[in-house]
Symmetry: C2
Subunit: 393 residues, 2 copies
């Protein structure tokens, strides 16, 4: 009753965006293990582990499942808290929970950490990648880890779902790299996927994105501590990794956000940037500090493998995107962000054109804003009504 | 007669874009020297030298002058050839020459290399900056060179013009960083500047651009050969500089260009990027090769000083941009490019709003295209009619 009142007074978007309606169960991070996994490229990895978590209850028919696929620098912590004292809930807590657009009173929502997840040093992320120990050598794989693709991410998720007896997905929902996985799920396993909600994504990395991903990754290779990827046990390429993360952070934003947040303010009011080469603007300083902090929980080689997986992405991995998307049966809700510079709305539009030509039902709802790519994570509540309605159809 | 026929048949834009009507005088690079120059920051530099060149004839009244200000990685070679055998003419040869929009039959067109010009190792670029020998120490300045701003670039150009007896500019025309100089000219010396044509520019670096310029510059500082700028005489930070130039090159383009030029083609048709971490896409390989080649003629410290000058830019350098633009009297033709991601059209629009509120006549002509920022250099012929008409008013 109180909830209904609050929604009526504040408006749905405001209610979803606030912490008031956070998923209120305590979230538990679990581990899914496979003795072996063979990549699309034909290489077999032993002792594969990925983390996962879930919100809501799996019904008896096991057909109320929504898979949430995570973004480049994210993990499976999409909603809720591990402990009541956690500073913040999962990244999409605004739309996942009881009575929210992805309603945990109705759906069993599950998310898993991908292979080669970036955040190897975050104790709540469980992944297998170049920083993992190769059981055959007792040493970290480094750049000897096999190339992996979105399809590999999908196949590991599928094995996890099958371990829970799940053979049908009500929807796959994901932002950014999560959107790429949603497309790949729909193309690879059309009989299993009823709906997809690709947020701030596209069905293929175009040449411009391939080039940008290379630029994201390049500072790591430039760092003398990278050493061809064999840095484990010694000084790590933290400066190169921090610069890579800095580029991602700015690229994932837009001019309006930068203006509102920083303008031309100086990092230190006593140090005019015009007075010395080392005096800086606030935006430079803040981006550096944020990137340095993020680098502490991340792995440089994992970054390179993730960039590669994104570059290689073309849904269905066929001779053309048209071919690759042909098997898709999933009803599709595309949610681009108007100011997105990483996966701009034209990529969603391109996917929509092909899907529509195939007769697949496609809707598009654009998040209007000036926050850039990240609007797909931080301003997702703006698309809450559309997601709720889409999942109900 | 032949010319008139060709224009009628081909259309004006095509005629201007082609080499047929190239400036046909032989261009001579000259040097302008100042015993001392004192920066806006109050530091005095000795033995300042900048290169310059001109096309067309200065009239007796010395009032037929168009100053062309160059872009970040450019120099004063805006038109014509140094020798008949030159592979290519200056960068805006399509619009500068006899009978062209910037008509050398009528105007004396002059351009100078800026202070801290990037291309210190290009024998046709003459500049003073961190790579120059400090007469007081007999060693290169390195990072001890004073911070310089757009205003400093303008003041050195003004001294050059005054040495030629020029006290009036029919127009200042420039692309990108050249547009910033045009705004600065109009704000700093309103009585001297009758018209400005800022192409792909804005009147102030906003926070987003300040952040991007920092990202452009960051790989240089990451290169262990940079050594705080004291690399002269030893191994130079060519890899960091090449990465900096690679970022600039992609940032100055757009998705349509990348799609048309590369698509998802592989660098080597025998090496599928999915097969190995080292196998690459064509766009990655081409950008790397181009950047490595450009790094050979560039200086890493000069890059840092140029990035700083661009970050510091706010026309008129007043408490607000409104204040800074208040003195401007120059009739203004703004030419943004629709797909520009470096200095997007909103920056030109912001300048136009302020100038109009001041009563300054402003026109805007947008170059429509999908080539990004560089459309302001490579597709300038599309605005040829507008430039010609504007200069005639």
């Amino acid at each position: 009753m109180l909830r209904i009142f609050a929604i009526a007074v504040l408006g749905l978007a405001a209610a979803w965006a606030g912490p008031t309606w956070a998923y209120d169960g305590i979230v538990e991070k679990k581990t899914f293990s496979m003795a072996t996994y063979t990549t699309q490229g034909g290489r077999t990895i032993k002792d594969v582990k990925v983390g996962w978590e879930s919100y809501g209850k799996l019904n008896d028919a096991r057909d109320n499942v929504i898979l949430v696929t995570h973004f480049f620098s994210g993990n499976s912590h999409a909603a809720g808290r591990y402990a009541a004292t956690d500073a913040a809930p999962g990244y999409w807590d605004g739309i996942i929970g009881a009575g929210k657009p992805i309603d945990t009173d109705r759906f069993f929502v599950i998310s898993s950490d991908t292979l080669v997840n970036l955040s190897t040093k975050d104790p709540r992320t469980i992944t297998t990648g170049p920083a993992s120990i190769d059981p055959d050598t007792g040493k970290p794989y480094g750049m000897r880890f096999p190339v992996v693709t979105m399809r590999d991410f999908v196949e590991v998720q599928k094995a996890l779902l099958e371990s829970l007896g799940i053979r049908k997905l009500h929807a796959v929902v994901g932002a950014s790299m999560g959107a790429l996985q949603a497309f790949e799920w729909a193309a690879a396993h059309p009989a299993m996927v009823e709906r997809i909600v690709p947020v701030i994504g596209g069905a293929e990395a175009d040449a411009f994105l391939v080039g940008w991903l290379d630029i994201w990754a390049s500072p790591i290779r430039l760092d003398p501590n990278w050493k061809g990827g064999d840095f484990y046990g010694g000084a790590e390429p933290v400066e190169g990794l921090a610069l890579a993360l800095k580029i991602v952070t700015l690229h994932a934003r837009a001019a309006g956000w930068a203006d509102r947040t920083f303008g031309r303010k100086w990092a230190d009011p006593a140090k005019n940037p015009a007075d010395a080469m080392g005096n800086r603007f606030a935006i430079e300083d803040t981006l550096d500090k944020a990137a340095t902090a993020r680098a502490k929980t991340s792995d440089a080689n994992h970054f390179l493998y993730l960039a590669k997986a994104n570059q290689l992405f073309s849904a269905g991995h066929a001779a053309s995107l048209e071919e690759g998307l042909k098997p898709v049966k999933a009803r599709t809700l595309l949610i681009p962000a108007s100011s997105d510079l990483v996966l701009p709305p034209y990529l969603a539009a391109r996917a929509a054109t092909i899907l529509k030509a195939n007769g697949t039902p496609v809707e598009t709802v654009t998040i209007e804003g000036d926050g850039g790519h990240l609007d797909g994570v931080l301003a997702i509540a703006k698309a809450g009504d559309a997601i709720k309605a889409f999942l109900a159809r």
